[in-house]
């Protein structure tokens, strides 16, 4: 018997159930966020096999250490994506991955059932995010894109953009702040601890 209706449960409640080793809860977390996790890993790694490894690690980590997610601090999706990003960047920065990225391997991936309303919401949000990003001046947008999607350190970004390191460092921080403001103007309220 299990009282939790995983499809109706909030992300936070799913994580509590994961903490009690309730596998269907992890499956539901995967169903909701696995696509975004995999897409981010793939975008950074540009190759499927390592992206799949990262995706698996992210969900296995959640299974083993659900206590690391703090619902007070932000959404489960951003928590998973931050973990995904960190792991992907680690892979990018390792020598082995440089070789792997040269390989063009394709692998068939099945498509899970996906809530149509969630998909529509995702698409609408994606549009708004794109607008908010475009509204950002280039000098703030480029360093963020290079660091986040390119997996570069800020020193590498500075060298790529031929800007001083300190400038890049502060532009990334203020760019993220501006982006947040732009998103809120467009009616998207990014979660996260506000003080």
């Amino acid at each position: 018997m299990q009282n939790l209706d995983v499809e109706q449960a909030s992300d936070a409640n799913l994580v509590v159930a994961v903490g009690r080793w309730y596998e269907p809860a992890l499956a539901e977390v995967y169903r909701r966020h696995g696509g975004a996790v995999h897409a981010l890993a793939r975008r950074i790694l540009r190759s499927d096999p390592p992206a799949e490894e990262v995706t698996q690690e992210v969900f296995l980590d959640l299974w083993r250490h659900p206590e690391k997610f703090d619902a007070q601090r932000g959404t489960l999706r951003s928590f998973l994506l931050a973990r995904t990003h960190g792991k992907s960047v680690d892979v990018v920065r390792s020598e082995e991955s440089r070789r792997r990225r040269e390989e063009k391997m394709s692998r068939e991936t099945a498509t899970a059932a996906y809530d149509i309303d969630r998909e529509v919401w995702d698409m609408a949000v994606a549009e708004q995010v794109k607008d908010a990003l475009v509204a950002l001046p280039d000098e703030l947008r480029h360093p963020i894109e290079l660091a986040y999607f390119g997996g570069h350190t800020y020193q590498e970004v500075a060298s790529l953009l031929k800007e001083p390191e300190g400038t890049v460092k502060s532009r990334i921080r203020s760019g993220l702040g501006r982006l947040r403001a732009n998103l809120m103007e467009r009616g998207i309220e990014p979660a996260g601890a506000g003080l």
């Binding site: 299990q2 981010l40 059932a113 997996g151 970004v157």
Partner: protein, 280 residues
């Protein structure tokens, strides 16, 4: 890096954006992390950056189903692995055999077990006598746990208001017991509801729960405490809701249900029909 000077709050603050995007070298990132442990304000700012970055990444789309199978295969705490851990505790380690690289279960006889699972007890290990002593002496289980619960079963789920209140307490834990049969894979036919005071209820799922047994059989509940397995009581042939107590014993970490002759057994040689572990 040697003799690195302490970084000020302001210096760390300036790094929060690049830290959130993993654009720092590992040493500096570790120093930011150490600061975040103590500084709520900076931790909150990083959380905000993560939310914004998460939206940039959020391309939506469906989760690849093929990948889930790979994840599910590696989960511990699921029925198979939980049962492996149970069985591993019951198999005394044999250093000579381990050194020889033999399979640890190579010379034991599965009883009622599917071939791929490890058996409930190893043959000739003297565990039966040891476990009987444990049940009789060490844990001092109340007699009603072994013999009186058929009555509780027959009277059905009559919970007192105190029991209901205990069940509603946030400290009360629910431990799903997963089916061990391949036919029931993924199913949770029963749940243990365990209060902080050590009062537990075995709740048999009304739908897809434990299959009713003939009158000369009974389900029996077991708990694993350390490296020992103790009987927690008889559940009857068609459990419904059955109370039991683990108060007074050391912490039970895992539960298992077996199918036994009516009247129960002191130590089981049968493969469990459902198992579940408490997440510590």
């Amino acid at each position: 890096m040697s003799a690195t000077p302490e970084m000020s709050h302001t210096e760390i603050e300036g790094l929060l954006g690049v830290y959130a995007l993993d654009a720092l070298d590992p040493e500096t990132a570790a120093r930011v992390e150490a600061h975040l442990e103590a500084c709520v304000r900076c931790a909150a700012e990083v959380a905000q950056h993560h939310e914004v970055a998460g939206l940039l990444a959020n391309s939506g789309g469906a989760a690849p189903t093929g990948l889930w199978d790979g994840i599910a295969a590696q989960l511990d705490g699921t029925s198979d692995l939980s049962w492996d851990r149970l069985a591993a505790r019951l198999d005394p380690p044999d250093p000579a055999r381990a050194a020889a690289g033999a399979r640890p279960d190579a010379d034991v006889v599965p009883i009622g077990a599917s071939p791929r699972r490890r058996p409930w007890v190893s043959a000739g290990a003297g565990l039966v006598a040891a476990a009987a002593a444990v049940v009789a002496l060490v844990f001092g289980l109340q007699a009603h746990n072994l013999h009186g619960q058929v009555d509780a079963m027959q009277s059905g789920p009559q919970l007192s208001s105190a029991e209901r209140a205990a069940l509603a307490s946030p400290s009360t834990r629910r431990i799903p017991l997963a089916a061990t049969s391949s036919a029931g894979a993924g199913a949770t036919p029963a749940t243990i509801v365990l209060t902080a005071a050590g009062i537990g209820f075995l709740v048999d799922d009304r739908v897809g729960g434990l299959a009713p047994l003939p009158a000369d059989r009974t389900y029996q509940l077991w708990g694993v405490v350390g490296d020992r397995t103790i009987s927690l009581g008889l559940l009857g042939p068609d459990p419904g809701i059955v109370p039991f107590s683990v108060a007074g014993s050391a912490a039970v970490t895992e539960f298992a249900i077996t199918d036994e002759v009516a009247g129960g057994v002191v130590q089981t040689a049968n493969h469990p029909v459902a198992v579940g572990a408490i997440r510590v």
